[in-house]
Amino acid sequence: MTALPQSTDRKLGLVIDLDTCVGCHACVINCKEWNTSGTGAPLSDQEPYGDTPMGTFLNRIHTFEVEVEASPAQMVHFPKSCLHCDDAPCVTVCPTGASYKRSEDGIVLVNEDDCIGCGLCAWACPYGARELDQEAGVMKKCTLCVDRIYNENLPEEDRVPACVRTCPAGARHFGDLGDPSSAVSQLVAERGGMDLMPEQGTKPVNKYLPPRLRDRSMSGGKSLESKGDSPKGLLSWIDRALEAL
């Protein structure tokens, strides 16, 4: 079994705004595109043009319909990738040490050379955030684009995960959640950012910003005051208003 670091110098992670995510899958595909030719084995696809197409993705979006009392049902788009937990059960369960959490920035990675594809980590992860690549037989997961965020071959502004750089709605934010003064920490504080399934005790680094309250006008509200219910009455009010201009 593999040990987790006692603590990490930084807690790099994502803040995902569920009030803003339109469920467009831009992050899903840009992640696939970057990572399939990036670190480790490609993200393979089986039967890509066949009867049961199925491939490896490090990030997926799930869409849920939510029933709300006395208000119309709502839709929530929920992007999901590795949450880089402080108490990552996928790491402690790893029999070879292939899964590990970095002490310097908290990123959870898989050393593919040591991965035997046993799948224990995927079983242990309560979020379903790991996928065993069928072609390579190794476990794939979000690397937080570790090959981008420190990459000196990229312009500085591009040293963020691919999903963050590409998100059209700006619903994904990247930063150090261990630093209370960071922009992401402040966003979490302002918007009531939440842990996913805190009862699992995994202490995820990634946070989700909940949707804002919806459909407040369902209960009606202020109505406009009439200036004249007949055309004649209205037009004489208009005349007076025009005089005043």
Binding site: Y49, G55, R212, D215, L245
Partner: protein
């Protein structure tokens, strides 16, 4: 144990080279950085400098690699060898392809209306229409007729521009944003970026849509309206705002025709037309003098209320007529609530919220500007309420008037071309008068006398032959749909097959999947394409088609001209066409071959030039018969539409100094490539708002070559051209509608926006079909050419019919069920799923997921074939027969827009299990099938 095999701070090389071009995975035209390694495309990301997407990129754009390397790409010209639909072809050379095309087309130069040339997702319409003009055929259009012509035409006629390519909300300042009938679509990234900005600062979003997905899912308020009633809802908002006097009176006086005097004598021939002076200037009553005056005379302040008597003829200002109409009780929230499916108190609350934000949260910019009458204004006053709308409100038979109603609402709030409101993008604003009129054929053998498509200002501009029949194969610009500004592509195959108004010889299509998801009534259209006459020949004798991929339409064509992928081609995103400008800048862009094709294919526009040369079309060859343009890239640089104005506006003149105007510059494309594939030219700060009336903007636009003289104008609350069509319907003038259309013209072409029930709601047996049925494209496929994409199809490869909870329970459905869905036109068998975030009278599904076996290099038993289905089978291009022997088009009666969303259906349980019906037998794939595995990127390791 070592901490990692990866270095702590990995810093790998990303690529050998980055090339900047323009995406074509949908119609957004974002800038992209294409990373190349070992000559292959490794990674595509958004271009941070590009005005459209500012670095972001959607799922389609990121899946461009799979599109570029798709196994469905065509490889060589094809000549059909088996029967149409069989998919049996032989590969031929380009010379053979041109010979065959010329063999069919050459004889038609003498009879050019026998060629129908229609392009689909064409982004080069100013070029393709120019080719068709040179050929001389009147039968040209792109796909706007079945897309969103109601939106475009209503916007142009009302305020000189519409949404999307015409304008955008002031995303940085707006405080309340209301979006109608936009599921996940037009346009893609800019709306998401805009919504993101609003959300970041907590501005409010109201989504009006029967379906709560996509943008509506994140709206703070979702108004789940019943389809086809948006106009009624909007006019109820107008009713509320009018009766409360919550309208911008100063704005209406200055910038609209609210004060224009309208002839109100019902017996007069000129009933509904404006009072005009000797110079033909519309008249208003000047509040200072109480006398008529030209609306645009300096210092004139129009009354909005004063009636006028001109030699015994009564005249009233437009605004007084609006008060009379919109204060009627039929527009009150209580009167419309049930039909719209929106509680009256919610309509009232939304009206109050619009008024509050517009007038109580006014914003001012301290930027002085001068108006068209020479008056200087110290500030720009903003009404921070903005709107956007698209297909959902326009694809109805009442769509034109609904779109007009929405613009009326914007204008009453004073929120067009002001800070925080809706802003035009160059070359808009541009009033209908500044657009061309439509043109019919001149003489056989001669080029067309002008562009095919335009904006009629009265019955004299219709395209009708002396015998009353249509000049165009699609019957655009006839009394059936007088303002069909984008043509009517959805009628071409049906009319050509029926020989109504005449038979054609060759159907020439580009990037238009008319044998499948781009046609209404798909099964019947397939029959029309394969139908043979008594002589044993096909009823539509020749079909030429150009596409980059093995789409469904390929199997039904006789000759295929294989196009390149978007990374292998030259293109221009031109100001002459559908540009990519921003509200504060003119902009255009190019595509260029960032990788060379590895197949024997040509960019369609280059193929069209070579075919034009072979046919010796005017403009394509010089006096000696030599080609004027080598290829499309050469045309992009050297063609001049007007002296000094060409397809690309940037770096004109040999030294590259020309912005908008200037002589051709042989190095122009190099300058574009150096600049990231695009050109941006900013509007001066004091000219960025009030554009139709801002002297600074008008001068800038002339200097930049958008037009040749200033063209200030006021917004048309009252649309006088419609009154002219009504005048003809009352029996006046040389061109009058046929008897059976008179009542309809009077009812639907009202000069003030109105609402009438969609035609399918009025038909007999409507009670038998109690549900509305809609389609929308998922965001990751919207406007995308090929959802067979290996990555995208893993997100969506089968579609279900979404059924509202009440109907679900009433019919006793449970998970995994299938249903029969029927309309007056047909019946399909489909898988169903429950959805509650949905209007209770509406079912819907994702469009164009269903594919035909044999197409797109997919397996014949792919989920797209097994469970995917098209709703198109239930929609007819014609209304059900009325017993009068006429073929009534299922289109908006004003513009001819295909009324896709009028569809009514009924649902009942079907036996479990697939496949979806109708099911089609596989055609032979001209490109074979795709590989069984993919590990893209392994070559870069």
């Amino acid at each position: 144990m070592p901490d990692t095999k990866l270095p702590a701070r990995p810093s790998p090389e990303v690529s050998d080279e980055v090339r900047h071009t323009t995406c074509y995975m949908c119609a957004c035209r974002c800038g992209i950085n294409v990373h190349l390694k070992n000559g292959r495309v490794k990674y595509i990301e958004g271009n941070r400098d590009h005005p459209v997407n500012r670095g972001v990129l959607c799922a389609k754009g990121s899946a461009g690699i799979m599109q570029h390397y798709s196994p469905a790409r065509l490889r060589k010209p094809l000549k059909r060898t088996g029967p149409r639909g069989s998919g049996e072809f032989q590969e031929i050379s380009w010379d053979e392809a041109y010979d065959l095309a010329a063999e069919w087309l050459e004889p038609l130069r003498k009879d050019p209306e026998k060629l129908a040339f229609f392009t689909g997702r064409d982004q080069s319409q100013s070029f393709t229409s120019w080719w068709a003009q040179a050929f001389g055929t009147p039968n040209y259009a792109a796909h706007g007729g079945f897309c969103s012509v109601n939106m475009a035409a209503a916007g142009i006629y009302t305020m000189g521009g519409a949404f999307w390519e015409f304008g955008q909300p002031d995303w940085d300042r707006t405080k309340l944003f209301m979006i109608f009938g936009v599921a996940e679509d037009h346009d893609s990234n800019p709306i998401k970026m805009g919504l993101g900005k609003l959300k970041a600062r907590g501005a409010k979003v109201i989504g009006v849509n029967p379906i709560r997905t996509g943008y509506n899912a994140i709206a703070d308020e979702w108004v789940g309206i019943t389809p086809g009633t948006d106009g009624l809802f909007i006019l109820a908002l107008v009713h509320e705002l009018m009766r409360a006097g919550q309208v911008d009176l100063d704005y209406l006086c200055r910038y609209t025709n609210a004060g224009f005097l309208v002839n109100c004598d019902e017996g007069s021939e000129d009933y509904g037309l404006f009072l005009r002076d000797e110079d033909d200037k519309p008249q208003v009553i000047d509040r200072a003098t109480g006398a008529p005056a030209a609306y645009d005379a300096k210092g004139v302040k129009p009354s909005l209320t004063a009636d006028h008597d001109a030699d015994g003829t009564p005249y009233r200002p437009v605004f007084a007529l609006m008060a009379e109409l919109y204060l009627e009780d039929r527009w009150s929230p209580d009167a419309v609530a049930e039909r719209c499916g929106i509680p009256a108190e919610r309509i009232r609350a939304i009206a109050a919220e619009l008024a509050r934000v517009a007038f109580e949260e006014e914003i001012t910019l301290d930027i002085p500007w001068t108006d068209w009458k020479g008056e200087r204004h110290e500030q720009m006053i903003g009404r921070p309420v903005s709107f956007h709308a698209m297909r959902g409100i326009s694809a109805h038979s009442n769509g034109f008037q609904t779109c007009r109603a929405l613009h009326l609402l914007q204008i009453l709030l004073g929120s067009v071309e002001v800070p925080g409101g809706f802003r035009f993008k160059p070359p808009y604003p541009k009033p209908p008068e500044a657009h061309p009129r439509p043109h019919g054929m001149a003489k056989p053998g001669l080029p067309m006398p002008g562009p095919h498509l335009g904006y009629p200002l009265g019955p004299e501009h219709l395209l009708i032959k002396p015998d009353g029949s249509a000049k165009r194969i699609d019957k655009a610009y006839t009394w059936e749909n007088p303002l069909s500004a984008h043509g009517m592509m959805h009628m071409v195959i049906s009319n050509a097959h029926a020989g109504d108004p005449y038979k054609i010889d060759t159907l020439f299509l580009y990037m238009a999947n008319m044998a499948w998801n781009s046609s209404m009534n798909t099964s019947r259209v397939i029959d029309m394409l394969t139908d043979k006459g008594e002589d044993g020949d096909y009823v539509i004798p020749h079909i030429i088609y150009s596409d980059a991929y093995s789409s469904e339409m390929v199997a039904y064509a006789d000759l295929i001209l294989p196009d390149t992928t978007y990374l292998e081609r030259h293109d221009c995103i031109s100001l002459l066409d559908r540009p990519i400008c921003e509200a504060d800048a003119a902009a255009d862009a190019i595509r260029w071959p960032v990788v060379e094709p590895d197949r024997d294919v040509k960019g369609f526009q280059t193929a069209l030039i070579e075919l034009g040369v072979k046919l010796r079309l005017p403009g394509f060859v010089d006096e000696d018969g030599q080609a004027i343009y080598r290829d499309y890239a050469d045309y992009m640089v050297n063609h001049e539409r007007r002296p000094g104005v060409g397809p690309l506006a940037g770096w004109r003149d040999p030294d590259g100094s020309g912005q908008g105007r200037g002589k051709p510059n042989p190095e122009q494309l190099d300058r574009y490539i150096e600049n990231g594939g695009f050109w941006v030219h900013h509007i001066p700060e004091d000219a960025q708002f009030y554009k139709p009336w801002n002297a600074g903007y008008q001068d800038w636009a002339v200097k930049t070559g958008l037009f040749d003289a200033p063209q200030p104008y006021v917004f048309n609350l009252w649309l006088e051209p419609l009154a002219k069509f009504q005048r003809a319907a009352r029996g006046h003038g040389a061109s009058q509608p046929p008897e059976h259309l008179r009542e309809r013209v009077l009812r639907t072409m009202t000069p003030l926006p109105t609402w009438y029930a969609p035609f399918e709601d009025e038909g007999e047996g409507v009670d038998e079909y109690p549900l509305h049925a809609l389609t929308q494209r998922p965001m990751h496929m919207y406007h995308s050419w090929g959802s067979q994409n290996a990555w995208l199809r893993q997100i969506t490869n089968a579609n279900k019919l979404y059924v509202p909870g009440e109907v679900w329970e009433r019919e006793g459905f449970s998970e995994g069920d299938w249903a029969w869905l029927s309309s007056p036109h047909g019946r399909i068998r489909v898988p169903v799923a429950r959805m509650d975030a949905l209007n209770p009278h509406t079912v819907w599904t994702w469009n164009a997921i269903g594919k035909k076996p044999g197409a797109w290099a997919l397996s014949d038993n792919a989920p797209e074939m097994r469970e995917g289905f098209l709703l198109n089978h239930l929609i007819n291009e014609l209304l059900p027969p009325k017993g009068d022997g006429r073929r009534w088009s299922n289109s908006d009666p004003v513009t001819g827009q295909a009324a896709w969303f009028d569809l009514r259906v009924k649902i009942e349980r079907a036996p479990e299990g697939g496949p979806a019906e109708p099911h089609f037998e596989p055609a032979k794939s001209p490109v074979g099938k795709g590989p069984e595995r993919l590990a893209y990127g392994e070559k870069f390791k």
